[in-house]
Symmetry: C2
Subunit: 349 residues, 2 copies
């Protein structure tokens, strides 16, 4: 760059340098967002918010002894009860029940066979009493046997059209706004966000990118096998098989993380005993690690269940007192929805 | 930016703008590298090189009808025979045989039990005659039963110290330089490079990042289960289990891609019948897709085996004439090591 340039050229270059500086700042990921604005505006100030922000700060500060290189920044999130509502019933179970009429239409001989007969009555009390073996038959009939592409379009159609009973909204509206902020905050700081769910991997992959910003390859879930087959014109496709490969719950979450990611997470978020081993596995790593449990203690704005801390018993997302005590003893963060979240959903207020 | 700045400040800013422009250009990934320099210098000019470069160009050009958004740019690579040497024996099998003395030292009662007894003799002819069931016993004893961390350090130690018999070099030197260039070229153009190998997922993950620039979460391989356990002080860890979860060969490669990635690749590279379904699955997608097979036809610089095109028969990396014919019929690229590669290894010439 010569000093003999005309004045207008120099001005032009100076303006350019400003534009480039802005572009440079925007491109220079990860951008530390905590300094300028509140990265978690839907969280009340308190121990939980402070712990999350402090963890991100210390692990992304190159001068910190807890610094984590970007390639190792992995955080895992349970889905049901951690990223979106799981009561009164896991959303995927609602999907499976909703699919039964279509399954029976394709195979009319099932209309008089249990458990399909009971599900077709729509009698929720009777459906709730079906034994686990019957529920498994419904899952098998609605989640397997079709091609991967057919399944994807069936789920997509349902996700776009179904409404929950309490809020009369799409299920994907029932994601927790404070957790969406955590996902964004961690990604803005170079963390790769994984979902590690007991729900079906193929099911969650259909909407996870749009709803959570989590691409298919970062969804780890309960997974069945597929079978490679050829169509009429020799075109290959995959058919969903009933064989269970990964039961991504309890110890299966740690095992699934090893299988699918091959790295120990630096942070993990869950809400039930099904997440215990994932949190233990995360905390067992060296350096700063963050383990977070969401306690559902807000019946007014969402639901209240435990039975930790005297909350009502539940079979959906059980959070035992033993888990609560382990969390307190081992320095995990317990988030009270009632006290820690300013709002629960994006549509609140 | 004001025009009233001193001359020295203006010069300073102009210099800054140049530096920022350079930084901007470097950060503005993906960088199209084909315009400036030859991205594949170890390839001879010819149909194979042209096809690879043209594929990358058309799928990354925003004005092309074949443009692929960065999030969908997935390319999969077989390892043995595609990224590194697989003859006369798969490297991981050499590892397993080399581990037998340590296994017997830990369990002396195995010294007089077959197949360990034969392996301990070091008689390669006798070892080569062991039936598959015996080989499986060796794989089981050397690849399972230890913690994930122990296995990682065992493999790392071997990878750092073992030497192959022909070139007297570390096995990781026996990667194909032309393929390293393809990996780099595709990554520079926004493709995420996955290894999809019949080899053990945990084995390949130990060195894949260092050797190929492929991180653990992008290695899909034959995978056994793990078991979550607690140590003496309550610390959790994972133990490698003999249960096979994914046999990542033949149809298992397409199934493994769905399980681990959840997206159909846009390009895939292989060298044997074990890669056929992966290539078919890749080509079955819409838009421009690239399927490449490496033909080992260069006994002087590497090895020659088929039996396609009259090359010698082999059980290690079989490339049948039927596969060759399918490739030619369906527009796959067949790479002749003899004719298409200027050099095979980085240490050549």
């Amino acid at each position: 760059m010569s000093p003999h340039l005309s004045r207008s050229k120099r001005i032009h270059l100076s303006l350019l340098s400003v534009l480039l500086a802005i572009a440079f700042a925007r491109l220079h990921a990860p951008i530390p967002v905590f300094a300028q604005t509140d990265p978690l505006p839907s969280w009340n100030d308190g121990a939980a918010k402070t712990a999350i922000v402090a963890f991100v700060r210390t692990t992304t500060d190159p001068t910190s002894k807890n610094f984590v290189p970007p390639s190792e920044r992995i955080v895992t999130f349970d889905q049901d009860g951690t990223l979106w509502v799981e009561h009164p019933m896991y959303t995927q179970v609602v999907y499976c029940l909703d699919r039964v009429p279509a399954v029976v239409k394709a195979k009319p001989e099932l209309a008089n066979v249990e458990p399909f007969k009971t599900v077709l009555t729509g009698n929720l009390e009777a459906i709730a009493k079906l034994p686990m073996s019957d529920l498994e038959k419904i899952l098998g009939a609605t989640l397997t046997g079709m091609s991967v592409d057919q399944f994807r379009s069936q789920v997509k159609h349902w996700i776009d059209s179904a409404r929950d009973h309490r809020w009369k909204r799409p299920y994907t509206d029932l994601t927790y706004q404070p957790m969406i902020e955590v996902l964004n905050f961690m990604r803005a700081n170079g963390y790769r966000t994984y979902i590690v769910t007991g729900g079906g991997q193929d099911f969650v992959r259909v909407y996870a990118d749009k709803v959570y910003g989590v691409p298919p390859e970062q969804v780890v879930g309960t997974a069945g096998g597929t079978k490679f087959e050829y169509g009429e014109n020799g075109e290959p496709y995959l058919v969903k098989d009933p064989k269970l490969l990964l039961n991504d719950n309890n110890a299966g979450k740690a095992e699934g993380i090893h299988l699918m990611i091959g790295r120990q997470p630096y942070a993990a978020f869950g809400n039930s005993t099904g997440d215990r081993q994932m949190l233990e596995y995360t905390k067992a790593g060296k350096g700063a690690r963050l383990a977070v449990l969401i306690l559902h203690d807000d019946a007014a704005r969402e639901y209240a269940y435990g039975p930790a801390q005297g909350l009502p018993e539940t079979k959906v997302g059980t959070f035992t007192q033993a888990l609560y005590d382990e969390a307190k003893k081992d320095g995990w963060v317990v988030v009270s929805i009632k006290n820690d979240w300013k709002r629960v959903f994006a549509f609140d207020r």
